[in-house]
Each structure stands twice: as structure tokens, then as C-alpha cells.
């Protein structure tokens, strides 16, 4: 795991600015929530850290190494998506072992690692199943195991709970939250759900319009919002409706 630092990262597409000077540091072993409405630039932030977007200006560092221009396959970043994006042409174990395989880990060792991770995530015994036969929650666990199998510098989670039903979501939030803390994972948790961010993350960055409005612990943000936008967005009751004038 590593410390990840963004320093005044800007990303523009033609006339639109997706990231407008974003700076923050995710400490080693910390899970930082990136919270904001859709289109606020949180996904661009995640994709820049993963290496799928090159910032227009600014730098990204993993510990002390600058990775701004390193291609995604050489960054050692774990990705978990809302859509799971499991490889349906492989078994569950092969999905998890894909990353180690790309890194030249031999067959028995990577199979062992896959079995251990699946066990850890509560889906031991599913190794030889076809991922399409699993439930949504199970598939998401496989996705998580697959991302963790490469022992990533940082784990990026892009709305990983959004497709799941409320009951499962609550359970998975608690389980995954505990697991990330236990494994001491450096994580970036992108979500539009303020409650989820509060539960899962050590600190939260509230993002709007390509800028970080406030960054702090969930308590700080909830009790001492920096401005009207943050106050409105994190207020749990009534639900955040940033476009409504009260």
C-alpha cells in the first residue's frame, strides 16, 4: 500500500473542465471517500489515479514516485466497479488470479492466493463457478478479491454498492469497511451516497464542479460544513437536492 498525492490536478476536455485544481493526499492505509453529485468530476479523479486519463496539468504521486504519465498496467492500482466487470470467459478463481498471472506468479501460488482471498471475502468454495451464475453481492466480492489479488498501491472503488439492494448494501458496507481497515488498504471510495461515504471512509472529500469543497472526517464535514453546498449535500434529512432553492 502507498500514500497517494494529487497536486493541483486539472483536466479539461475542450471547453469543459472536469477537474479544476484538485489536491489531496490519501494517507497510507486510509480510505478517502470522494463524495459529490453526478458530473462533479469524481469519476475523472478516479480514472486519473488509475491512469486512464492524463491530467492537463498537475501531478499524481504514489509515495514519492510520480506516476502522472505511467500507463495503467504499470501502476499497480486495484479497480472495483459498480458493474462488477468480471471476465465471463474465466472461472471465479481465474478472475481473481488474472492479476497475479499478468505479474508472472506461478500457477499454484496464484491459485492459492485466489482461494485465500475468496475465503477471506466469505465466498470460499466458489472457485470453479462461472461468475455469471453468482448473485450481485457475490459478484461484487469476486471483483473486490480480484482487485486485492495484486496487492495494489491503492484500491479504487467506483460506486461499488450502487446496484445492490438496501439490505445487502448495509451488510456489505459493514463487512467491506471492516475488511479494508483490517487489511490496511489505501483506498479511494467514489460515491454519490453521503451515508455510504460516512460509514465506509476515514475521511471524506466533498467535490463539486471539479473542485474539492471540503475535506475532513465524516464528523467534521457533518458538524462543521465549510459552505452551503457541503451543508446541503451532506444533510441527511431532507435528502440533498442541490438544485432546489429553499
Amino acid at each position: 500500500m502507498a500514500r497517494v498525492t494529487l497536486d493541483s490536478v486539472r483536466k479539461t476536455y475542450g471547453d469543459t473542465t472536469a477537474m479544476d485544481g484538485v489536491s489531496f493526499t490519501v494517507g497510507d492505509g486510509e480510505v478517502l471517500g470522494v463524495l459529490g453529485p453526478s458530473g462533479c468530476g469524481k469519476t475523472t479523479t478516479l480514472r486519473s489515479i488509475a491512469g486512464f486519463e492524463t491530467p492537463t496539468s498537475g501531478t499524481i504521486r504514489f509515495d514519492d514516485d510520480e506516476v502522472t504519465h505511467v500507463p495503467p498496467e504499470n501502476r499497480n492500482v486495484g479497480l472495483v466497479f459498480q458493474e462488477y466487470a468480471l471476465f465471463d470467459n474465466m472461472t471465479v478463481a481465474e478472475n481473481v488470479a488474472f492479476g497475479p498471472k499478468m505479474r508472472g506468479v506461478d500457477k499454484t501460488a496464484r491459485r492459492e492466493r485466489a482461494t485465500d482471498l475468496l475465503e477471506l471475502l466469505g465466498i470460499g468454495g466458489f472457485e470453479d463457478r462461472d461468475p455469471t451464475t453468482l448473485s450481485g453481492g457475490q459478484q461484487q466480492r469476486v471483483g473486490l478479491a480480484r482487485a486485492l489479488a495484486i496487492e495494489p498501491s491503492i484500491l479504487l472503488l467506483d460506486e461499488p454498492m450502487t446496484g445492490l439492494d438496501a439490505k445487502l448494501k448495509t451488510r456489505l458496507q459493514r463487512e467491506v469497511g471492516d475488511l479494508l481497515a483490517e487489511l490496511d488498504v489505501t483506498g479511494l471510495y467514489v460515491t454519490h451516497d453521503q451515508e455510504e461515504a460516512m460509514v465506509m471512509c476515514d475521511r471524506v472529500a466533498v467535490v463539486n464542479d471539479g473542485r474539492v469543497e471540503q475535506i475532513g472526517t465524516p464528523r467534521e464535514i457533518y458538524e462543521d460544513p465549510a459552505n452551503d453546498f457541503v451543508a446541503e449535500f451532506v444533510s441527511l434529512d431532507p435528502p440533498a437536492l442541490p438544485f432546489v432553492e429553499w
Binding site: 498496467e73 479497480l79 466487470a85 471476465f87 470467459n89 481465474e94 480480484r146
Partner: protein, 291 residues
């Protein structure tokens, strides 16, 4: 209401379905049956059972002259133990291969096009998309244009193969594109890349195998349509081994009903066999589950 729909509706739908199936399958069954008959003058064929029609169509009859008149050149003979000779319909294999050649080109060209169009936003995307569907023109028109543009390809196998691939490319692109669009293409690619796979490796070991069902069905559609493409084959083909469609047309227009029936039945068989082979090959080829 529920009882009524169950009592009347379901049997009615079943009956309609059965009637449609019988109506559509009937002629095929009759054709296959007739291919084993001596004559077919009335509604039903008569004079069972003879293999003569099949032997002549397959080029196994003793009279080579008769075969030639049917458009069959002498076959390759393989010596087998005991002095018997096994006749191999090399020409038939060649005709099947002509259509397969078209499919092969479409796999190499069509899959990347479908990928590019469904994955990326680029200038001229709509044009590429339209262009890949444009060859849905009648084979006659493409055939004539083809001969004008590339006179040196006229009558050659290469000409036929390239023409088939051009004519049938849209079916490949559409089948594969809809498959790509039904899966989280970008997420899959990004997952594989982040796990350490280079782009080419991602494309070959993740993207293509995940789209296998679309690619297989595209290949089957392409092949079946190319094999049955008469207009283009008729205009471009000049001499040598006949494309399947031309062979079929000759049998239908120059021979007795029963012999035509055997030729058509053989065509059905070839379609069925090649479809099964493509399916099996596809499954094997894409199955990366290592054991």
C-alpha cells in the same frame, strides 16, 4: 378470465405455432425424402429407396460423364486398404472453403471495426458505422461494380472470397457490435489493464473471449449467407470450382426433381455441419478455462 385464457389461449397459441412449424418444415422434409426417390411427378415422390441421386450429387456414381454434366470435376481418390478407393469431394470442400474465406476476412476486419465503433468516440464514427453497413446492397450490383473496379479478380477464387466478405461484413459487424454494446466493455478493459495486462493482451484474452457468442453467431450468419449468395457468385464466377450457390442452381435447373432434391438436401446438411463446426470451434477456441 385466467381460466379462459388457460383453456383456450394456450392451446390456440400452441396450435398456431405447430401449424407454422409444419408449414415451414414440411417442404424441407419432403425434399429430403424425395432425394431418396426414383421419381417425383405427382405431389408425392415415389420409387423408394434409391441412393442414386445422392451418389450422383456427391460424385460417387460410376459414370463420370454424368457427373461432369452436373458440373462436377473428377474427384481426388485416396487409396485405402483392400483395393477400394475412397472418393473425397475436394471440390465440395473447396466451395465450402470459399465462403469460409469470406468469414475469415470478416473476423479479422469486422471485429476490430465493431470494437472501435462501440468503444470509442471519434470523429467520423457515424461514417464508419454507416460504411460498415452500406454493403447491404444486392449482390448483383456489387458484383458488377466489383468486376469494373478489379477486372483482374474476375472469375478468381480470391475475387469470390473478397466479394463474400464485403457483402456479408455488415452481418458480422452488427452481430459483434450488439454483443460489445451489451457488456460493460470499457469497465472490462479497464479492469484488465489495471490488473497488469497490456492493451493487445486485454483485447485478445478478455475482450474477444467475452464477446465470443456474438462473434460465433456473426461467423455462422456470414458463412450461411455467403454460401447461399447466388447473385454475386453468378456474376463473378467464370470457371473452375463452383461456388455452392452456383452448383445448387445448376442442379435445380438442369436435372430431375429428385436429383435437385438431393442437391438441396446436401446443401442443408453442409449448412448444418458447418454451423455445428463453427459453434464447436468457437467454444473450444474461446474457452480459456485452463485445465
Amino acid at each position: 378470465m385466467v381460466a379462459l385464457s388457460r383453456r383456450v389461449g394456450r392451446p390456440a397459441v400452441t396450435a398456431l405455432l405447430l401449424a407454422a412449424v409444419v408449414f415451414l418444415v414440411g417442404p424441407i422434409v419432403l425434399t429430403v425424402v424425395a432425394s431418396f426417390a426414383r421419381s417425383w411427378t405427382g405431389v408425392l415422390p415415389s420409387g423408394f429407396v434409391t441412393l442414386q441421386n445422392w451418389r450422383e450429387v456427391l460424385g460417387l456414381a460410376e459414370t463420370f460423364g454424368a457427373q461432369r454434366s452436373m458440373g462436377w470435376d473428377p474427384l481426388v481418390t485416396l487409396p485405402v486398404a483392400g483395393g477400394t478407393t475412397l472418393m473425397v469431394p475436394s471440390e465440395l470442400a473447396f466451395s465450402v472453403g470459399l465462403a469460409l474465406g469470406g468469414v475469415l476476412i470478416n473476423l479479422v476486419v469486422g471485429v476490430p471495426i465493431a470494437y472501435a465503433v462501440s468503444r470509442y468516440d471519434f470523429r467520423g464514427k457515424e461514417w464508419v458505422n454507416a460504411l460498415s453497413i452500406l454493403p447491404l446492397v444486392p449482390g448483383v450490383i456489387l458484383g458488377v461494380a466489383f468486376l469494373r473496379a478489379y477486372p483482374e479478380l474476375s472469375g478468381t477464387s480470391v475475387g469470390l472470397i473478397v466479394g463474400y466478405s464485403l457483402l456479408k461484413a455488415p452481418f458480422m459487424v452488427m452481430a459483434v457490435q450488439s454483443e460489445f454494446e451489451s457488456m460493460p466493455l470499457r469497465r472490462l478493459e479497464e479492469s484488465a489493464r489495471s490488473l497488469g495486462a497490456s492493451w493487445p493482451r486485454t483485447f485478445l484474452t478478455v475482450i474477444v473471449p467475452n464477446a465470443s457468442s456474438g462473434i460465433i453467431s456473426g461467423a455462422i450468419i456470414c458463412w450461411a449467407l455467403a454460401a447461399a449468395e447466388f447473385n454475386f457468385s453468378y456474376i463473378v464466377w467464370a470457371k473452375g470450382t463452383q461456388p455452392l450457390a452456383v452448383f445448387l442452381q445448376r442442379h435445380i435447373s438442369n436435372s430431375s426433381f429428385t436429383k435437385a432434391a438431393a442437391a438441396v438436401s446436401m446443401f442443408f446438411c453442409i449448412i448444418a455441419v458447418v454451423t455445428l463446426l463453427l459453434q464447436q470451434l468457437g467454444r473450444r477456441g474461446f474457452d480459456t478455462r485452463g485445465h
